[in-house]
């Protein structure tokens, strides 16, 4: 080390000064200097208020979907014969009779319409039905494993329908939660399939270049220009009728993946091409690094953040495709629920006129798509944490 110190003294007469400065740097600075890429990304992302909101909303939706059985008071097929096409019930804390600490809803009286003889449910402001938490209800298997009967909330007596009921008297709130789970998971699986394909195809094109790249580019273009809706229709019509809903579900994720990869593959390829030419990659090559090391240690980490952004941004397309497909009756079929299937019920004029609450699942679709877009925006800005640090 003494070699070092003599050199230090030669190099610079006032060399000690900047060193002292370095040591005096505040704790904050040191934290910033030793922050890894992901920490920097997170710090930048945190500043994006809207993106944080988007992330929060999505988190809540994922929780809703995953714990649909627990949060939703009833199963997707439970029918409430006394409350068919009933409007949403809002838990109240007070009415004419006074104030209550426990939320409650008013009871329901059923009568027949004197003209059409249809059953009509009317609210009876005289009776109160109090809400309870962690009530025992219908049994279910959480995540298909744990046998449970407890639900997050319910009523002492009768049933609570936050979003109202459909024409069979099924609770729309519970159904929407289940649908959220299905639709989000189709999106996630679809994106994953697309992502794996994109990484392989785009990676090969970008890393090897030349003729292989040219060929892959042209194939990508061909896939990109296939009109999507007719293709979906053709493929979905090809699903055998005897397939179970589970089979249809996986077939759909596969189709979305197969159609979604070209955009992602192009992005992967261009990231790869861009990074390959960077000086630090050449420095690694000259250090004798193997191809595997260069890809694993330099190239992949350099664009994972961008790829995540691309994934997030391509989510809404998957979700909208699923919704569209199920809506026109080509995707999942009842009794399964997804956003598209729920919206199928809201297809006719009667629904709009008499039961506008059947549209509530649509709000979920809109909110989910918006949240993904906001999140994607925030991530895109945060993905390159080095763009401002180069002062």
């Amino acid at each position: 080390m003494d070699k070092t110190t003599t050199l230090n003294n030669d190099v610079n007469l006032s060399a000690e000064e900047p060193e002292i400065d370095q040591n005096n740097k505040s704790h904050e600075d040191i934290k910033y200097y030793t922050a890894s890429q992901w920490q920097l990304v997170w710090w930048r992302f945190r500043r994006h208020k809207l993106a944080m909101v988007g992330a929060g909303v999505l988190l809540i939706m994922v929780i809703f979907g995953a714990f649909a059985d627990f949060i939703g008071p009833y199963s997707i097929t439970t029918r409430d014969r006394s409350y068919i096409m009933g409007p949403p019930q809002m838990p109240l804390l007070s009415d004419q009779k006074g104030f209550s600490l426990r939320p409650f809803v008013h009871g329901i009286k059923t009568s027949r319409d004197p003209v059409t003889l249809r059953k009509i449910a009317t609210v009876d402001p005289e009776t109160r039905r109090y809400m309870q938490f962690f009530v025992t209800g219908s049994s279910y298997k959480l995540f298909g494993i744990f046998d449970m009967e407890t639900h997050l909330f319910g009523l002492e007596q009768g049933r609570l329908h936050l979003f109202g009921t459909d024409e069979l008297g099924r609770d729309i709130f519970s159904r929407t939660l289940h649908a959220t789970g299905t639709s989000l998971s189709i999106g996630i699986l679809g994106v994953l399939v697309a992502f794996v394909l994109a990484l392989i195809i785009g990676g090969v094109a970008g890393y090897f270049g030349g003729k292989i790249d040219y060929l892959i580019q042209r194939i990508t273009e061909i896939v990109r220009v296939i009109p999507v809706i007719p293709l979906y229709m053709g493929l979905a019509a090809a699903f055998p009728k005897e397939w179970s809903n589970m089979q249809v579900y996986f077939a759909m994720t596969l189709i979305f993946g197969l159609i979604g990869w070209p955009t992602l593959a192009r992005r992967t390829r261009s990231h790869l091409l861009g990074q390959r030419g960077e000086d630090y990659v050449m420095a690694a090559e000259l250090s004798g690094a193997s191809a595997a090391r260069i890809i694993g240690k330099h190239l992949l980490p350099s664009f994972t953040s961008y790829i995540i952004v691309d994934l997030v941004i391509s989510f809404p397309y998957m979700i909208l495709s699923e919704t569209a497909l199920s809506f026109i009756g080509l995707g999942l079929r009842p009794p399964s629920v997804s956003w598209g299937i729920l919206l199928q019920d809201a297809q006719n004029i009667r629904a709009i006129e008499q039961a506008p609450w059947l549209f509530l699942p649509a709000a979920f679709v809109v909110i989910a798509v918006l949240a993904f877009t906001l999140l994607g925006d925030g991530l895109r800005d945060a993905a390159d944490p080095y763009s401002v640090s180069n002062h």
Partner: protein, 358 residues
């Protein structure tokens, strides 16, 4: 105002609002530009040399704040009151008239200032037709910024015809030394080589006969032989057109060859300003001395260079007191790190901001 002065910048201070808070890249900046002379502004990265000149034509990003106390006086001549550019609202008609009309600017990267979809000729013609009065207009002789001519009168006279503009364009290209100017005029910027493009940009800038040209690192991207051509061209055109030049660069050698007066900037302040000979042969500020010594010279080949110690601080870590004090070998403890040095006129026209010269 002294009729020999064209621009007098007093106490310029420019700040930027950023995510990390307000930074002030330019502070306590005073400089003057004399008619038909060249002021060279030399400084390293982050010294604020570009920002301090862009403030002259309000060509600053949206998050910039120019201190309202700052004065940028532009002498319109004919004994009229000087115009304070800082008082003009950004984007106003007067500013637009100044920009590209009275004050022209050229940049390091000519490709960035040309539109790729119009021919070189088109772009010169546009500048000419927006800013110049027809040579046979009775207003041509009297036109200076701020003299108010009624709009209708202007509409009647100031339109240079397309044909006239084109001949001006060809003539300008010829004057900046582009061979076959009448063919080149119809070419697109990407069809020209680097040196040619730089010449063409000068042609665009000078086509409106500005009284001052701001050249921001105009030769940095060029090779030395081409750089020499451009420097010579600028000198010729300066005498021919009688304009002033602000020449911004980081290269001391270039500044020594082109400037009449040199301003040395460090971290947003002009630490020393004076006639070229005085600054180069008899520098006052330790920073100026330091960089002059740090330049490798041919008369001491192989010897150790005298480096200026330390690093240039980033925009968020400006030192208090004299900005150079952490790197200064002659700093006075408890003075240089606390107080900002005032400007001292050591010899006539030779200013320095340093406590060593009190």
């Amino acid at each position: 105002m002294d009729p020999n002065l064209l621009i007098d910048v007093q106490n310029l201070r420019v700040s930027f609002r950023t995510d990390e808070g307000i930074i002030t890249p330019v502070e306590h900046v005073n400089y003057r530009i004399k008619r038909e002379k060249t002021l060279g502004i030399v400084g390293e990265s982050g010294s604020g040399k570009s920002v301090s000149t862009r403030a002259l034509i309000k060509l600053l990003p949206k998050n910039a704040i120019v201190d309202p106390e700052s004065k940028i006086l532009f002498n319109r001549g004919n004994g009229t009151e000087p115009l304070d550019i800082n008082l003009l609202p950004a984007g106003s008609k007067e500013i637009r008239k100044l920009r590209g009309g009275e004050i022209a600017m050229i940049f390091q990267e000519p490709m960035a200032s040309f539109s790729p979809v119009y021919t070189i000729g088109n772009q010169i013609m546009e500048a000419v037709r927006t800013h110049r009065l027809s040579s046979n207009s009775p207003l041509a002789a009297t036109s200076t910024v701020g003299t108010h001519i009624s709009e209708s009168l202007k509409a009647k006279y100031n339109n240079v015809s397309k044909k006239e503009a084109r001949s001006i364009a060809v003539d300008m290209l010829r004057r900046v030394g582009i061979a076959n100017a009448d063919l080149r005029v119809d070419q697109y910027p990407h069809e020209l080589s680097g040196g040619m493009r730089q010449r063409a940009m000068i042609a665009v800038a000078l086509s409106t006969h500005p009284s001052i040209l701001i050249a921001d690192e105009p030769t940095t991207a060029l090779d030395v032989t081409i750089q020499a051509q451009i420097l010579e061209l600028m000198k010729e055109l300066q005498t021919e057109l009688g304009m002033s030049i602000i020449f911004i660069t980081h290269d001391m050698g270039v500044i020594a060859q082109v400037a009449d007066e040199i301003a040395v900037m460090y971290l947003g302040t002009i630490v020393e300003r004076g006639p070229k000979e005085a600054v180069i042969n008899d520098p006052l500020h330790p920073y100026t001395k330091g960089i002059l010594r740090a330049i490798p010279k041919l008369n001491n080949l192989g010897a150790r260079l005298e480096a200026v110690g330390g690093d240039i601080p980033g925009p968020h870590e400006r030192p208090t007191g004299c900005p150079f004090h952490p790197r200064c070998p002659q700093r006075i403890t408890k003075t240089c790190d606390k107080l900002h040095p005032e400007r001292i006129e050591k010899t006539p026209e030779h200013f320095v901001r340093c406590f060593l010269h009190l």
